[in-house]
Symmetry: C2
Subunit: 332 residues, 2 copies
């Protein structure tokens, strides 16, 4: 189906669409990837699965899943969603005088992140739940959009959505131009991501799978219904939860999956053990100059078992320093 | 986007695709609907939302949701999925000698549906849970496909997937040709539906939202992972659960929704109370000759509040007897 669309765009697509399609077919589909074995492995897989032969995959089965944090955009020095949660707690603080004496809010409002972090997962969960609930889904969507448009990263000073990985954006486009459906399968909050992923990656809300809180259908005083976000966990989309989420939300086993941490291990494994061809990709953060270098010892983006078993499952380990010509879209 | 595709098909689409696109654009897009106010209301809505003006809806927001049982296919004399569950219990019985003395299985195996039904929702839930768990998702998919290919309806003797409503299949096609994304939002089991909905309606698995049991990621003895269906309820996609499911799975408020029972009331209400145009449609089962006539007093497809409030929300009530030229695809 998408083949037809691509072929058509040369004749009748809009000018902008036609340009990107032309660029893809006529020249290098992955210009931000350095030439070499890594880039070639991607192109070989896409070529063989879209060409008649033993490894051909019908369009309806071309399901590609991408982790988000550390795979499609940066996740250092802290998950960007946590930065959002902290900013929201600060904005909510005037209505919560009790937070002045209640941890982890007290420490957070005093800028004492060390104490916040010492509270472990429980403290972080409290911050995320509090900042992501008691609000309608429409209002929350607006809050995220406003934040993405204004907040900036502490080191690069870029807006967070300017810190998507240009090589991965090209990969998403390349896959879609070859009939693949691209999905996000991330531990991040689904409502947080959906507010900006369509613009940043060309991935619409209904192709974004993530963690979520419960929502409740309520009729407001004006008779209008709204969905209100609850302080209860609905789905945790990490580790073994990722193949589970893929089944519950997509309903097909992916044939292409990219991740960067052991939280992606299960979905990579699920992808690589289906019948027929399956491609697993691990983004290895090796570039301490242009981005960050971390793997086995990092709490964020912890990658240990994935590196150990990459050979066993034939996963492609992408070396960011050597394989990527540029990291962010702004680089020339 | 889909506009482009449709336009293209006239030049470069496959023969089969081109034919359906041509048919849509050149002649009547809804040939199985009788001429009149109902059909005109549908065409008017699609026309105004896809034409520049006050009621124009951008392609990315053209989300259309359809209930399945009683809206896209028949649901009488019992939900078709229940017929599947009963057949599966019978097939599983040799491995469960204890069922010979245990209700509701004993009654079911003896063909005593009256006793089964007397067990109420609890008995039905036991039958559905037992027949839908303890099996991998891949195996379950195969069981459903085999059943759909062989089982027949007790009255019409048709295969169940031959009892989809031809006017609704045309409506789905018409909406898609106009840039709408079509989703199923049904109380039925998501894995049961996904096995056949792509073929029957052109709706892929990742656009099917339904009720679901939990699934667990397990590594089998051969080292291969599988997802195993559990006897626990994961999501119940009915009543207020429908707008909740729409949010969790789709992430956008629909602008077009069709249902046939009070189980669809909340999603119809959610659709009709958004900003901008929103279209709600209720399929009213009025044809006791060609199909079944039922509404306020029926336990299956119970429709009471929806009829009461159709005027208030400007929902289009489709009179199956008078508005539909044919019910099933096989009718000429």
């Amino acid at each position: 189906m998408l083949f037809i669309t691509t072929a058509c765009k040369n004749n009748s697509g809009t000018k902008a669409d036609a340009k990107s399609a032309d660029t893809l077919s006529a020249t290098d589909p992955l210009p931000s990837w350095n030439e070499g074995a890594t880039k070639q492995a991607i192109i070989d897989f896409v070529t063989k699965t879209t060409t008649e032969g033993d490894d051909f995959i019908p369009v309806t089965d071309r399901i590609a899943c991408f982790d988000n944090d550390g795979t499609l955009w940066c996740e250092q020095p802290m998950y960007f969603q946590l930065a959002f949660a902290i900013d929201r707690i600060k904005a909510m603080a005037p209505d919560h005088p009790e937070w002045k004496t209640k941890q982890p809010f007290k420490a957070l409002l005093e800028g004492d992140m060390k104490t916040v972090m010492a509270g472990g997962e429980k403290a972080l969960m409290q911050i995320v739940m509090t900042s992501h609930s008691g609000i309608t889904t429409d209002e929350f969507d607006k809050k995220v959009k406003d934040w993405i448009a204004t907040a900036t990263h502490p080191v690069t000073k870029k807006h967070y959505n300017e810190m998507v990985y240009q090589p991965m954006v090209e990969l998403l486009t390349y896959l879609r131009a070859n009939g693949y459906k691209t999905f996000i399968v991330s531990g991040g909050g689904v409502d947080f991501m959906r507010a900006w992923t369509e613009k940043a990656y060309g991935i619409p809300p209904y192709q974004v799978i993530g963690s979520s809180v419960g929502v409740k259908y309520e009729i407001a005083a004006d008779g209008k219904p709204a969905l209100v976000k609850q302080a209860t966990l609905n789905f945790y989309d990490d580790k073994e939860g990722k193949p589970v989420g893929i089944h519950q939300y997509i309903g097909k086993r992916p044939v292409f999956t990219a991740g960067n941490s052991d939280g992606d291990y299960a979905m990579l494994q699920y992808t690589s053990t289906g019948d027929g061809p399956g491609f697993g990709m691990i983004i290895h953060h090796t570039d301490s100059i242009r981005e960050y270098a971390y793997d086995r010892k990092s709490p964020i983006g912890h990658l240990n078992k994935g590196l150990d078993d990459a050979g066993k499952y034939n996963w492609l380990v992408v070396d960011m320093m050597n394989d990527w010509k540029r990291i962010y879209p702004s680089e020339q």
